[in-house]
Symmetry: C2
Subunit: 147 residues, 2 copies
């Protein structure tokens, strides 16, 4: 049996599993995991409809949970994986948590934070396009069903 | 006895009361109230240290609470009062909640959302400088004590 390779695809698949949970609950399907030392320390998926809370994006839930787990308001040794590019709110949250690496799947052409420049921590590195097709397809399928 | 005049100063004073609670708890003293039909429907003050949660800004707490109260993820008939200019994260949250009016006291020259343009909902109106001196003084007093 081959060893698991802990690479960006592996963790993005975990984020996609979270997005699927959102999809199944009728939420815009965005999922997020936060990883520290090759271990997923928190998970989140969009819950804005269920909670009637516009701040309950996947990333916010995952950040709050990771900080609770680490008992620290900084996530300086973590990587955040999210299926769709963070919005301005989430980019601001990622900034405050000082997350040094952000990996996302599909770009958000309408509300992605990159429309406003680099809102993350100045030293943060961004990798995009990991499992882009799967991440993007889930969003398209969701909005197709809504019409 | 004079009738209470429900104006911006009146509600900013409520936000300052919240900021004082943060100050007393050793938190960066920012306070927020959300007002609908001249009634404060939610309050929040910065709790990032106590909760070890970098997303627990005054505005996020107040928005989540107001949406819970109204059972709606939109706050389209509300005004948000906050003692210090919202950061990028909070401006993004205000955008999603579609809050049409934002009133703040002191400007945040370093991390205020206005450094990145208008991040609020396109139609949102911003009023600044209400009780600016009191709001600013509380921040200065806090950081003076920290040194």
């Amino acid at each position: 049996m081959p060893l698991i390779e802990y690479n960006d695809e592996y963790f993005m698949r975990q984020a996609l599993n979270e997005a699927q949970l959102a999809f199944d609950e009728g939420e815009v399907p965005v999922g997020c995991v936060i990883v520290c030392d090759n271990t997923v320390i928190s998970r989140g998926h969009n819950m804005t409809e269920m909670l009637k809370d516009s701040t309950s994006h996947a990333e916010i839930i995952a950040i709050t949970s990771a900080e609770e787990y680490l008992q620290s308001k900084y996530l300086k040794d973590c990587t955040l994986y999210v299926t769709v590019e963070p919005c301005v709110m989430c980019a601001g949250a990622i900034y405050w948590a000082q997350i040094p690496r952000i990996v996302f799947g599909a770009k958000d052409e309408k509300r992605g934070a990159s429309l406003y420049g680099h809102l993350y921590h100045p030293a943060a590195k961004v990798t995009s396009g990991i499992m882009q097709e799967e991440c993007s397809k889930m969003m398209k399928d969701f909005f197709k069903n809504k019409r």
